[in-house]
């Protein structure tokens, strides 16, 4: 028993020990694990309306849509743009051609209502800019070239003087061939000397080429003459050679030389006719006529004293009658027969012919050599004069080119554009209309439409003069200066010229920025565009065919320079937005307006204010209007977003404006500022211009603090457009959420089952609440929907589609497809 008890006790002890251990282990408390939930983020507050449930026949089928589209568009330009936008967004290209046809129709309508006021190409602003840009360079280049040419001319002249010194040693008795050898060597030395001298290369080349050519040409004739003169046997042959030379080389003879040549020719003829004493006497008489008294003594008196006396006693008439063989005087005839003829026969008719021929040829050679020698002596001076004259002629040409460059370019351009004129901007139209019609022209610009390209480029500059800088006194002829200024440019309303009011509208400023930005897109030199071909390929040499120069191998419309021009003008508009007269302003949390300049200078009442909203208002006589409108803000957001996008990768541009690091930094910084302005404007729209249920206010009056609830679906479309644009530009989701919820409220209130599209307007009840479009009682049976309205709504909502949930996408597609399809037919 004791043993059993011990065993039991032992077991109990072990059990208790184990129990203690288990109890200890099991008593261990459990740690409560804290459940972590990720914090929430902003999400939509409202849901889309289920249009499928609203009415079984909510959505238009194709026939309904086609039947009820009303094509009386108010603005074909916007129709064209909206359709092109949809087409490009869908990447189907289906609407492209129709969009272009809308645009063309709009342009022709515009042309028929307001015929364009034209201006000559040479008077265009761009040509003025080319002139301004080139004048200094041309003037400076011209002056340098002229100065160099004159200096070089002097060098060459000195060289000529030195080298032609040897020509003074040439004698008149030196044979012509010898004289020619000497002169050829001299000319060669001059050319060699010119080549060795440090001269303006083109001048040197031209001069040496000219001298070589001219030397060869000028010496060729005399060389032949010299050779041929050695072969003549009669005086007549010599005279004929000389006459032929004179004629061939167009040698200008003095009257006495002409007479001498004529006399010599006559003599030659007479000599050739010598057959008897009578004809010999004729030749002798002619010889007598030709010779000077001293020569008569030399040649006649020493040879035949009687003959000398005979002629010497005769007067000129008698001599002439002998020459002409028509002396009728009996005495003379008697004398001739008795005294002279026998003497001639004594001397010998053949000898006389021989003497006269020999002396005549000698005299001819001597005359040629003397003439040549005299020419050679004067050659140095002649060369100098010729060179100087040639240079002066060249200088005159250069000066003429410099003076006439603009016209030369203008003429060439007019020929290329096949028009002598382009259009002027119609100053009677509102600025925004002018800007937007050019914007559309740029959007719908066809490739290689050089005339339109030039028109757009020049319009950029024409718009520059539409705007005013507050400090500008005169703007004409200062295009370059204005373009390079980083000053604000204001586009005051032009429509009411009679009024003294200065009106600056948000719409105008937004439109100006939109146009300039569109041109920046077209002219961005680091991206392909329709400006890659056409006028941007024109070299100055292509336009100025009259002159050939390497200096003309420059582009007249370099894309990068044109981009810089558009950028400069866009920057001036942006500068205006941060000026004291900016239509954009900031707001604190109490909607107190703060000008951007005041904000930047910390010059406002509450420095701790939370400033994240901005709006825009028109300015009349330098005073901000009390109201701000949703549509204006949308236009501004749209324009700023375009600019932001257009300047993406701007650092890749080779434009001069971006080579300046300071300017480049300013531009990149201004890009950030633009983004901030978009954010603040979008904040205002998404926070202040919508109700908690995301119904839209069309305007806010700062004076009264009242907001106007919009009853127009157009406002809803604009609000969606503003916020989607802001979302796409900034990446901030809240704008997308706001846009979606505005779209939901559009579906909730504006979708009209009867027309199967959004009603343009709805009504409000006595409490000021919006009434569902379907609930408004009407007796109208009109089911039509205007094309403007359809395009505006569809193009505004389409970018939202990808952000919708599946259900919303499905019902949007049901609305979109058939109306869009119907528009394409």
């Amino acid at each position: 028993m004791k043993t059993q008890k011990r065993i039991i006790n032992q077991n109990i002890k072990h059990f208790l020990g184990l129990a203690c251990l288990l109890a200890f282990t099991n008593c261990a408390p459990k740690v409560q694990e804290k459940e972590r939930i990720s914090p929430v983020v902003p999400t939509a507050r409202t849901n889309d309306t289920n249009l499928f449930q609203k009415n079984k026949r909510s959505f238009a089928d194709f026939q309904h849509a086609q039947k009820n589209i009303k094509n009386n568009s108010q603005n074909l330009f916007t129709d064209a743009e909206n359709l092109l936008d949809i087409s490009r967004r869908l990447q189907d290209g289906l609407g492209d051609d129709i969009a272009f046809s809308f645009y063309n129709e709009a342009v022709s309508n515009q042309a028929s209502t307001s015929p364009a006021n034209s201006m000559a190409i040479k008077d265009t602003h761009y040509l003025q800019l080319v002139h301004e840009e080139s004048t200094d360079a041309i003037q400076s280049g011209t002056a340098t070239i002229i100065e160099t040419l004159r200096k070089d001319t002097l060098t060459v002249q000195n060289l000529v003087v030195a080298q032609t010194e040897i020509l003074k040693t040439v004698k008149e008795t030196d044979l012509l061939s010898k004289q020619l050898e000497i002169v050829e060597k001299v000319l060669q030395n001059i050319v060699t000397g010119i080549e060795a001298a440090e001269l303006f290369p083109e001048f040197k080349l031209q001069l040496t080429t000219e001298m070589r050519t001219q030397s060869a040409a000028q010496l060729a004739g005399p060389k032949i003459l010299a050779t041929e003169l050695k072969t003549i046997t009669t005086l007549k042959q010599g005279i004929d050679l000389l006459s032929a030379y004179v004629t061939k080389n167009a040698v200008v003879l003095l009257p006495e030389d002409t007479k001498a040549l004529k006399d010599a020719d006559h003599l030659g003829q007479l000599v050739d006719k010598i057959k008897n004493s009578q004809s010999a006497l004729q030749a002798l008489a002619k010889t007598w006529q030709i010779l000077t008294p001293e020569e008569r003594v030399l040649h006649f008196k020493t040879a035949n004293k009687k003959l000398y006396d005979f002629f010497n006693d005769k007067g000129p008439k008698d001599i002439q009658c002998i020459v002409a063989a028509n002396c009728n005087s009996l005495i003379t005839k008697l004398i001739l027969k008795v005294g002279v003829y026998p003497a001639i026969e004594d001397y010998g008719v053949g000898n006389i012919k021989k003497d006269i021929t020999l002396n005549g040829i000698n005299s001819l050679n001597l005359a040629v050599q003397t003439n040549s020698q005299m020419t050679l002596i004067a050659l140095g001076k002649t060369l100098q004069d010729d060179i100087k004259k040639g240079v002066e002629t060249e200088i005159a040409e250069i000066q003429l080119f410099a003076k006439d460059f603009k016209n030369l370019i203008a003429d060439g351009l007019a020929a290329k554009l096949a028009t002598p004129t382009i259009s002027r901007i119609d100053l009677n139209k509102p600025n925004s209309e002018n800007f937007m019609s050019n914007y559309y022209a740029s959007v719908f610009l066809k490739k290689n439409n050089v005339r339109q390209q030039f028109q757009l480029i020049d319009n950029l500059l024409q718009f520059m003069f539409l705007g005013k800088n507050t400090e500008e006194k005169t703007t004409q002829n200062k295009i370059k200066e204005i373009l390079t200024k980083a000053d604000a440019r204001f586009y005051y309303d032009q429509t009411n010229k009679a009024s003294n009011e200065t009106i600056l509208t948000v719409k105008d400023q937004a439109a100006s920025l939109k146009f300039y930005t569109q041109m920046m897109n077209q002219l961005a030199d680091w991206r392909p565009s329709t400006f890659d071909t056409g006028i941007t390929e024109y070299f100055a040499q292509d336009l100025v065919t009259k002159y050939q120069s390497d200096d003309l191998k420059k582009l007249v419309f370099p894309k990068s320079d044109l981009f810089g021009m558009a950028l400069s003008l866009a920057a001036q508009t942006l500068k205006q937005l941060e000026s004291e007269l900016s239509p954009i302003y900031l707001m604190d949390e109490n909607n107190q307006r703060i000008s951007i300049t005041d904000y930047l200078n910390n010059n406002f009442e509450n420095p701790n204010a939370v400033v994240v909203h901005a709006a825009a208002s028109d300015i009349k006589n330098k005073v901000l209007s009390d109201e701000t409108h949703l549509q204006d803000i949308t236009l501004m957001i749209d324009a700023l977003a375009d600019f932001y996008k257009a300047t993406e990768d701007i650092e890749k541009s080779t434009s001069d404006i971006l080579k300046d690091e300071v300017l480049k930094t300013q531009i990149l910084n201004s890009r950030k500022q633009v983004k901030l302005v978009i954010v603040t404007l979008a904040n205002f729209v998404s926070n202040q211009l919508v109700t908690r249920d995301h119904y839209v206010f069309s305007e806010l009056n700062f004076k009264t603090g009242k907001k106007k609830l919009s009853v127009s679906s157009y406002d809803y479309a604009m609000a969606i457009k503003a916020l989607v644009t802001a979302h796409q530009t900034t990446g901030i989701d809240i704008y997308k959420l706001s846009a979606l919820e505005i779209y939901y409220s559009l579906n909730r209130k504006f979708y009209l089952t009867k027309t199967k599209f959004y009603s343009p307007t709805i009504e409000v009840n006595e409490k000021g609440e919006l009434i569902d479009a379907d609930l408004v009682k009407t007796t109208s049976t009109d089911l039509s929907v205007s094309r403007d309205h359809i395009l505006m709504m569809l193009s505004s909502i389409l970018p939202l589609r990808s952000h919708m949930n599946y259900g919303s996408q499905l019902q949007f597609d049901r609305i979109f497809e058939n109306w869009y399809s119907a528009l394409l037919l």
Binding site: N9, K13, H14, L16, G17, C20, L21, A23, F24, C27, A28, P29, K30, V31, Q32, E33, K34, R36, I37, S38, P39, V40, V41, P42, T43, R45, E589, N608, V610, V612, H613, K672, K675, L676, V679, N683, S686, N687, V690, R692, H694, T730, G731, I732, D733, I734, Y735, L737, S738
Partner: protein
């Protein structure tokens, strides 16, 4: 981490049921930081001395029983969620940013902004070595002294999680302030804030120091055939580190002066089993402490300027408990202990710089603790000459199984005692 009571200190030890073992149990008396299963039932014989070394560690200090008695990790309990409200409270600039974001649309984007939760993952571990010396003065009176040396380790990991910063990245580039807010490293920011406010940075700890020396008097005032009663008085001397208001990771449990009285009744049921109910009461002497006084409940990190010397009146602490001892053989025994205790609220004198009432918040506490011991003794075999030396070797484990406003402590310790 609660800067006022990081963890509790107890000097009570595991009781022994049998006479010989009771003698050696005294070596467990100076269990600094042990779980405090105190039911001392025996004194040393006259002129008998004991020298022992106790080695142990305490973990689980990163867990705490909260006001609603749930056990949570201090990581969760002390984590700070930096939502918009908290941020705005911490930083006026943050309030502006939140207001700014609220004005984007109508979605309270600012109010929803959340930088996430800052979690302080700590792994505090205390290891101690305590030489103890005790001597029987008379048959019924023993005096002892214990000198604990503490090694305190704490691996700190600060991490930020569960933020919605990713969503708010879309706002980057709009303002430098917002960008800076989105780039906030809460850990680094907290460290910077701490440094700015004069706190020590939160870093890993590995430090050793002398703990509070304890002197104990054990008096057996009653002894019957199968039962007896013992009174134990413990005097804790403030030899350990003083209260450090600048160090958020400081244990701040040393440098105290208190007197604890315990009375244990021991009833032997049979040769193997004894039951020992007990009670104790601890009284802290008021002490002057340099402490940062919060302005209000939200002022979780009072500035340096809030430092003030206040008199702290720590709450009374009392416990009741019972032990069951089971001797498996002459050499080997098990023990199980269960106790409940309470502490009244700490109080401070009036502050001139803040609201000292805030310091008193959640300072009243209660607890339920259990303990288990395995003991091996050669005393009997020594007396029967089967062993060379009289020694006692024990292993003790304990835990707090429930409580309110008290840290959980899981302890293990090993002790070796020699008798001479």
């Amino acid at each position: 981490m609660n800067q006022h009571h990081v963890f509790k200190i107890s000097t009570t030890v595991w009781p022994k049921s049998r006479l010989l073992k009771d003698i050696f149990c005294l070596v467990l008396l100076f269990m600094y930081t042990s779980h405090g299963l105190a039911a001392q039932t025996e004194t040393l014989p006259e002129y008998i001395s004991t020298a022992s070394v106790r080695y142990g560690q305490i973990t689980g200090l990163e867990q705490r029983f909260t006001e609603d008695k749930s056990l949570v990790r201090l990581t969760d309990y002390k984590s700070i969620e930096f939502d918009a409200e908290t941020l705005a409270r911490f930083n006026p600039e943050a309030a502006t940013l939140i207001e700014t974001l609220n004005r984007f649309g109508l979605y309270n984007a600012g109010d929803l902004f959340n930088l996430g939760t800052l979690e302080f993952e700590t792994k505090p571990t205390i290891q101690f070595v305590a030489p103890v010396y005790a001597q029987g003065i008379t048959k019924n009176w023993t005096l002892g002294i214990g000198i604990p040396v503490i090694n305190y380790k704490n691996d700190v990991n600060i991490q930020q999680s569960f933020s919605n910063i990713a969503y708010y990245n879309q706002f980057r580039g709009l303002s430098p302030e917002l960008d800076a807010a989105l780039d906030t490293d809460l850990g680094a920011a907290t460290q910077n804030t701490l440094i700015q406010k004069g706190y020590d940075p939160i870093t890993d700890r590995d430090e050793s120091f002398l703990g509070d020396i304890q002197m104990v008097s054990l008096w057996k005032f009653y002894e019957g055939v199968t039962n007896k009663s013992v009174h134990q008085m413990t005097l804790n001397l403030p030899t350990g580190p003083k209260y450090d208001t600048d160090d958020l990771l400081a244990l701040n449990a040393f440098g105290r002066t208190y007197l604890e009285n315990s009375v244990t009744f021991s009833q032997t049921v049979n040769t193997y089993l004894s039951l020992n109910p007990y009670t104790n009461f601890r009284y802290y002497l008021p002490e002057k402490v340099d402490i940062r006084v919060p302005k209000n409940n939200s002022d979780v990190l009072p500035d340096e300027s809030s430092k003030e010397k206040l008199t702290k009146y720590e709450g009374y602490q009392y416990e009741i408990g019972g032990q069951v001892n089971l001797a498996v053989s002459d050499d080997l025994s098990f023990g199980f202990d269960y106790r409940i205790g309470q502490k009244t609220k700490d109080t401070f004198n009036q502050s001139n710089k803040g609201d000292s009432k805030v310091l008193e918040t959640n300072t009243e506490s209660d607890w339920h603790k259990v303990g288990f011991e395995l003991n091996y003794s050669t005393v009997k075999s020594y007396l029967s000459k089967k062993s060379f030396i009289p020694m006692n070797l024990s292993f003790l484990a304990y835990d707090t199984i429930s409580g309110r406003n008290v840290e959980r402590r899981i302890g293990q310790e090993l002790s070796v005692a020699l008798f001479f």
